[in-house]
């Protein structure tokens, strides 16, 4: 048994909570190599998401993620608004009609989401962006789904992979986004977007695993 609508809703709420709790942390990371707003941006967006998803009546996973996407796109701005909007829009598309999200559906959806982010933002792995957390997470999900792991195992591996990917951004020189303007000076700092992407994977783990 995979995750249903309540678990997906809990994941969205959990991500909002994690972003709020880490608002200053994400902003401080962005101050180092960006413009000191990533936590503020994400928190504004996820705070706007909460009443929107609370108002949803039909328990449709795809519709839920579409609402998150549209709300992020119209409230976040910056680079992360369209990019996280793209993540959730792709989750919505991939999970159309889905009521029970198992390891393989989630692996496929996250894989498609990170591909959509790459096609929009043109970031390659190693460019020091959210892609560096999302790509390894998607790979871990695919691997565990192929191995036949449980959803809980797959989600835990994805969080760990996102975390490692996030930490691996520290030595990188940014080649996309605002941090790329810094050139060599961007090395030595953790990417804020990769950090929020890790929080997203963690929220997925905590909420979706409960569906098992």
């Amino acid at each position: 048994m995979g995750a249903g609508y309540p678990q997906c809703l809990a994941m969205v709420r959990g991500f909002a909570k994690a972003v709020a709790a880490n608002r200053d942390y994400l902003t401080d990371l962005d101050a180092k190599i960006g413009d000191a707003d990533h936590g503020i941006n994400m928190d504004r967006g996820m705070t706007a998401v909460l009443p929107k998803v609370a108002a949803l009546t039909d328990e449709d996973i795809s519709g839920l993620f579409r609402t998150v996407a549209m709300t992020l796109i119209s409230t976040v701005g910056g680079a992360s608004g369209p990019l996280y909007g793209t993540v959730f829009l792709q989750l919505s598309t991939s999970l159309k009609g889905e009521v029970d999200v198992g390891p393989s559906e989630w692996a496929a959806a996250v894989t498609a989401a990170v591909e959509a982010v790459q096609s929009r933002g043109k970031a390659q792995p190693g460019d020091k962006t959210m892609v560096d957390a999302l790509l390894p997470a998607a790979a871990a999900l695919r691997q565990h789904s192929e191995q036949g792991s449980s959803l809980a195992e797959a989600l835990a591996a994805a969080t760990k992979a996102a975390h490692d990917g996030m930490e691996a951004t520290i030595p990188l020189v940014a080649r996309k986004g605002r941090a790329s303007y810094l050139g060599e000076r961007s090395a030595g700092h953790q990417d804020p977007g990769a950090t929020s992407s890790w929080l997203l994977m963690q929220a997925a783990e905590e909420a979706l695993a409960k569906g098992n």
């Binding site: 902003t27 101050a31 180092k32 190599i33 960006g34 413009d35 000191a36 707003d37 503020i40 941006n41 504004r44 796109i73 119209s74 409230t75 976040v76 701005g77 910056g78 680079a79 992360s80 608004g81 369209p82 990019l83 929009r120 933002g121 940014a174 080649r175 996309k176 986004g177 605002r178 790329s180 303007y181 810094l182 050139g183 000076r185």
Partner: protein
């Protein structure tokens, strides 16, 4: 944090309300979603020029809305690009049937949000062309990065393209002109102090009493390097050399020289800097045909300045001189 504000989360809305109250003769302001437009928009048969970006750079862009410059501007949150729905709503509101030019500064967020909006506007049957400004030579331009940032040239492009649109030129020409202005413009900035994003509540970076940041962005992004404080003449020489050598500007060229204040630097210092720039360019055989001195593309209360040069031809001079009536720039009317 010492600011004349109420709650940090209300700054942009309250600024827009104040702006609307002060300039209702020339602009209309939408608060949901946020955008500023010419009071007489849409102007039928005219190309509409739309820009936007994070707030905190005032008077850019909202202050440049009006006859002869922008038809609309979309302010995002402080230092955060606007969202597609704002840009779409503004684009629709000012579209006069002759197409819309989006002038977009080269930041990932601005590009992505304007792209989404342009896609949606096209679905609605509005012809949109986007031109990206990227004049900041502090940043290495490379295929493998987000490229150079868009800074001071944006102000000049908005004026010149606004005049061309006002003169009835078609979208393709106005867009081409915008690309020409951008490719003939180069900028570089520096900061003496940091700015503080209201919602962050503390300075984006710390500079010691004897330090300055060279190549600063307009969002308090760290610059090219941190240096010991120098004199105005030395700073101008450093910035101007980098700018002039980049295009390069050559002896005999005619330029518009734009000395911009970052928000916390008073006019007296900008004129000291302009003096140095005037001498520097004379030394290189470059003639200042037109100039602009003041805080036009700012970074909240940051102290510092930037230099923008635009190589002029006769058409650009004529369009620069054409009447403009906006809260931030006005002449000829």
């Amino acid at each position: 944090m010492k600011k004349l504000i109420n709650r940090a989360e209300d700054v942009v809305r309250e600024e827009l309300e104040g702006f609307a109250a002060a300039h209702s003769d020339r602009v209309k302001v939408s608060l949901d979603p946020y955008y500023v437009m010419r009071a007489d928009a849409p102007v039928h048969g005219k190309v509409a020029v739309v820009s936007g970006g994070g707030s905190g750079h005032e008077p850019m862009h909202g202050g440049f809305v009006g006859m002869g410059m922008l038809d609309a501007a979309c302010p995002g949150e402080v230092f955060t690009s606007p969202t597609p729905d704002q840009i779409l709503a503004a684009t629709k509101a000012v579209s006069g049937g002759a197409g819309v030019l989006h002038i977009v500064k080269n930041y990932t967020g601005d590009i992505l949000n304007f792209e989404m909006a342009a896609d949606l506007a096209k679905e609605d049957g509005i012809q949109v062309e986007a031109v990206v400004t990227n004049d900041d030579v502090a940043v290495q331009d490379s295929l493998y990065t987000a490229g150079r940032r868009g800074v001071g040239i944006t102000v000049l492009a908005e004026k010149i393209c606004g005049a061309a649109a006002e003169a009835g030129r078609p979208l393709a020409e106005v867009a081409e002109l915008c690309r020409k202005v951008n490719s003939n413009g180069r900028s570089m900035g520096m900061a003496l102090t940091s700015c503080t994003v209201p919602a962050a509540g503390k300075p984006t970076f710390e500079l010691a009493e004897d330090e300055m940041e060279i190549g600063i962005g307009i969002h308090g992004e760290p610059g090219r390097e941190r240096r010991k404080l120098a004199t105005a003449d030395e700073i101008v020489e450093l910035l101007a050399t980098t700018v002039v050598d980049d295009l390069p500007y050559r002896s005999g060229d005619k330029v518009l020289a734009f000395v911009n204040g970052m928000g916390g630097t008073p006019l007296i210092e900008l004129y000291v800097a302009y003096r140095a720039l005037d001498r520097f360019l004379k030394g290189r055989g470059i003639t200042i045909e037109r100039n602009l001195v003041g805080p036009y593309i700012t970074s909240l209360e940051m102290a510092g300045m930037s230099i923008t040069l635009l190589k002029l031809d006769d058409e650009m001079v004529r369009l620069w001189d054409a009447p403009v009536n906006t809260p931030g720039l006005r002449w000829g009317v």
